[in-house]
């Protein structure tokens, strides 16, 4: 109990000192803006060099230790005076300890958990190492088992193949089985992250005025799967239109320095419009965009491609053909984004277009692999096999590639075919 008392007093003493140190840090030394910035930076460097955070963070730890010591001392003292009261105290202390251990474990298991304590932060890294080791042990044992299984099958196959080569039944060749694109856990993570992004962008577009933050939010707004996230799209769409319009003068010529804002807001408008089409089946909301020809002062293939599309009489069949006509000068990132937009577009409506247009979009040398994969998926739609919603969630299809590579693509392939893997 006495130790608890001393520790409490010590915590109060350190808190007072900390308050004093922080007051000194916040004190304004006067002078010009540059001098004040320099002074603030010097103090900030001092804070980082000397472990002030250690003293500040030790305060709750000291109070926690003091509380534990007090509870233990009180329990022991009461045990000799009144046993029933002591029992009550011990059980209440136990509940408190269990609660504390619980929040330490919760904080340790997830960085996003709000119940962070110094103990959970200190234990997080060792716990992660232990957990990785457990997972690797499980994976390794699985691999050993599958390798043994493959060796067994290889022996059987080589025997069978000596007898005859034409042993593949046609039903195996024609196999048409569902594909699991992503691990359910990975898909859940993507969905969760997407929902978080949607809410975050919605908040930034509505409440933040910092230009850089707004541009970053606009960039993301053109990639998020907005639907099903519980966000009202109408006000967001209106805000984006306003931002897009503010980039142009009354004659619809781009203001200098507004390129990024115009490009990303145009992307976001088209993206949301396509998603709405996808959701409502042809109920477009793009009629709210003021029509007219938008132009740039300097050549910019990416932006011109989007502006050309916006300038079109939306709703006619020529708009999709315009999107397919990617200029060879467009950047790979733009090509990829457009291919993703087209993939969504073709999920919604089957337009009678010349298939050669899709091929030509594919031919461009700068087209990145991701865009080519999207084109292949567009072909799937044309062939009567719409793309699964989980695939549409994946902006970057190479994610799926790396996932397969890391988990043994060839084995998965043979599992998909329902034939034993010959390797």
């Amino acid at each position: 109990m006495y130790a608890s008392l001393i520790i409490s007093l010590l915590a109060a003493f350190v808190a007072m000192l900390g308050k004093q140190w922080l007051n000194r840090y916040l004190r304004n030394s006067g002078g010009s803006m540059i001098e004040r910035c320099g002074d603030r930076q010097r103090k900030f460097n001092g804070l980082k060099k000397w472990p002030l955070h250690f003293f500040v963070e030790s305060l709750p730890v000291m109070l926690q230790v003091a509380l534990l010591l007090l509870a233990c001392g009180l329990c022991q003292h009461m045990w000799s005076i009144n046993t029933p009261v002591a029992c009550t105290l011990i059980s209440l202390t136990g509940v408190g300890v269990v609660f504390y251990i619980g929040i330490v474990i919760a904080g340790m298991s997830s960085y996003a958990c709000p119940f962070q304590t110094p103990a959970s932060m200190a234990l997080r890294d060792p716990w992660k190492k232990v957990w990785r080791r457990i997972v690797s042990l499980i994976v390794r044992s699985k691999r050993v088992l599958s390798r043994t299984h493959r060796m067994w099958e290889r022996g059987v196959r080589s025997l069978l193949h000596r007898q005859s080569q034409l042993t593949i039944p046609l039903e195996v060749v024609q196999v048409d089985r569902p594909i699991r694109w992503l691990d359910p856990e990975a898909f859940a993570i993507i969905r969760r992250t997407n929902a978080d992004d949607a809410r975050c962008v919605s908040w930034i577009l509505g409440d933040i005025t910092d230009p850089e933050t707004l541009d970053a939010a606009l960039l993301l707004a053109g990639e998020i799967q907005w639907l099903g996230c519980g966000v009202d799209l109408r006000p967001i769409f209106d805000l984006i239109i306003t931002m897009f319009m503010s980039c142009f003068d009354p004659t619809r010529i781009l203001y200098p320095g507004s390129r990024d804002r115009a490009y990303y807001s145009a992307r976001a408008m088209l993206w949301i419009n396509t998603l709405m089409m996808f959701h409502n089946r042809l109920q477009r909301i793009h009629s709210f965009i003021p029509s007219g020809k938008y132009t740039t002062q300097v050549p910019d293939p990416d932006l011109e491609h989007l502006l050309g599309f916006i300038s079109l009489d939306w709703g006619c069949s020529s708009d999709i053909k315009w999107l397919l006509r990617i200029n060879p000068g467009c950047t790979p990132l733009h090509s990829q984004w457009i291919s993703n937009l087209l993939l969504h577009y073709f999920q919604t409506i089957v337009i009678k277009i010349d298939p050669g247009l899709v091929s030509r979009a594919h031919e461009i040398k700068t087209t990145p692999l991701n865009a080519k994969l999207n084109h292949l998926l567009i072909w799937c739609t044309f062939l009567g096999s719409p793309v699964e919603s989980e695939v549409l969630m994946i902006q970057n299809k190479s994610y799926a590639i790396s996932y397969v590579c890391s988990s043994g693509g060839s084995l998965l392939f043979y599992q998909w075919l329902h034939v034993p893997c010959p390797m």
Partner: protein, 350 residues
């Protein structure tokens, strides 16, 4: 790529049974795939499966022949024709046999090369498609008269002939096969498995047409193979190419009685160049336990040396080379026959 290709494969399977509009997209999609720069290993296997299905359901598709040719182009045109091995295993089915007529009747040299590539590639645990290749032999035998050979097609025809072997062509008329061989003008560097080639050339020579029509080039090539002990080279596919035979038994052997018949026919035809080569081949490939003695063989040597004095030195050099590479002594019977033949030739003159 893998997932997308699987998805595409499923889409093609369903489109073949789908509406006319969906079917109409198949050729466009296939032509688009030709332009794909990065082609996954799986694409090869997937398009090979499409070939089987397209052939099976050909009645439902318009212009199915060209679809098959495009599929083969997607899967195999971009591959390096010098590589023998592939990572993915191609599932051969009975329907793939239908490709033979379609591809060879198209008379497009690169499409023919695509098909031969598909059927000659080896997988770590699988042999090439011997059964399917055999069905090509009729078309291959007269191919050089119909189609100009590109380097790729030329190399793949050589590989196909090596895998089919003499027996695959025997029933079609050996003359046509010899015509193809003479056109191919194969060298040691072009052979993937020297044992198979040695066996093929021996079988061809031992046929009556082969003795007459096979160009002198191949007789010399066979001497080269025998003297250099190439056939005993061990390859990783030994167990797969020679069914059930362990690598040690991969040795060329000839029959003495048959050899003497060939010597007689060559002597009658006054083919001294070929006789010179055959004499060398006989001495190098005859089983050790057989002693040819000095009888007919010695007499023929004398006749050869008399007609072709340069053969004395050539035979001696070949046997020396063979002795070094095979790690064996030159047979005493050869030394005696050679010495006697040489002396007789010097004494009698040409």
């Amino acid at each position: 790529m893998f997932h997308v290709l699987c998805k595409l494969s499923n889409a093609v399977f369903s489109a073949i049974d789908g509406t006319p509009t969906q079917k109409a997209f198949i050729p466009h999609m296939l032509r688009d795939l030709i332009k794909l720069e990065y082609r996954s290993e799986y694409l090869k296997e997937i398009v090979y499966r499409w070939c089987s299905v397209i052939y099976e359901k050909r009645e439902r598709l318009q212009d199915w022949e060209s679809l098959l040719l495009v599929c083969l182009e997607i899967g195999f045109r971009h591959l390096d024709f010098r590589t023998e091995f592939v990572k993915t295993w191609l599932p051969h089915t009975e329907h793939h046999r239908g490709l033979v007529d379609v591809v060879f009747e198209s008379q497009e040299s690169e499409s023919i090369a695509d098909l031969l590539h598909a059927w000659t590639v080896k997988h770590k645990y699988h042999r090439p498609a011997h059964e399917l290749l055999d069905s090509c032999s009729a078309h291959l035998a007269g191919l050089h008269d119909l189609v100009p050979f590109s380097p790729r097609l030329w190399r793949l025809v050589i590989r196909s002939v090596e895998l089919i072997g003499y027996k695959g062509f025997e029933g079609l008329g050996v003359e046509r096969f010899i015509g193809l061989l003479n056109h191919l003008h194969v060298t040691v560097e072009d052979m993937d498995d020297k044992y198979n080639w040695g066996k093929l050339l021996l079988d061809t020579i031992q046929s009556s047409e082969g003795t007459q029509h096979l160009s002198h080039w191949y007789w010399e090539l066979l001497v080269e193979l025998a003297a250099s002990e190439y056939p005993l080279e061990s390859t990783s596919m030994d167990l797969l190419t020679e069914q059930g035979a362990p690598p040690n038994s991969r040795r060329l052997r000839i029959d003495l009685a048959h050899s003497l018949q060939i010597i007689t026919s060559l002597t009658e035809a006054k083919e001294w160049g070929k006789l010179e080569c055959w004499m060398g081949i006989v001495w190098m490939l005859l089983p050790e336990e057989l002693d040819p003695g000095e009888g007919d063989l010695g007499h023929s040597m004398t006749l050869l040396f008399r007609q072709r004095p340069g053969a004395v030195q050539k035979l001696e050099q070949w046997m020396e080379r063979w002795s070094q590479t095979a790690g064996k002594d030159v047979p005493e019977s050869f030394k005696q026959a050679h010495k006697k033949g040489h002396e007789a030739a010097q004494r009698d003159g040409p």
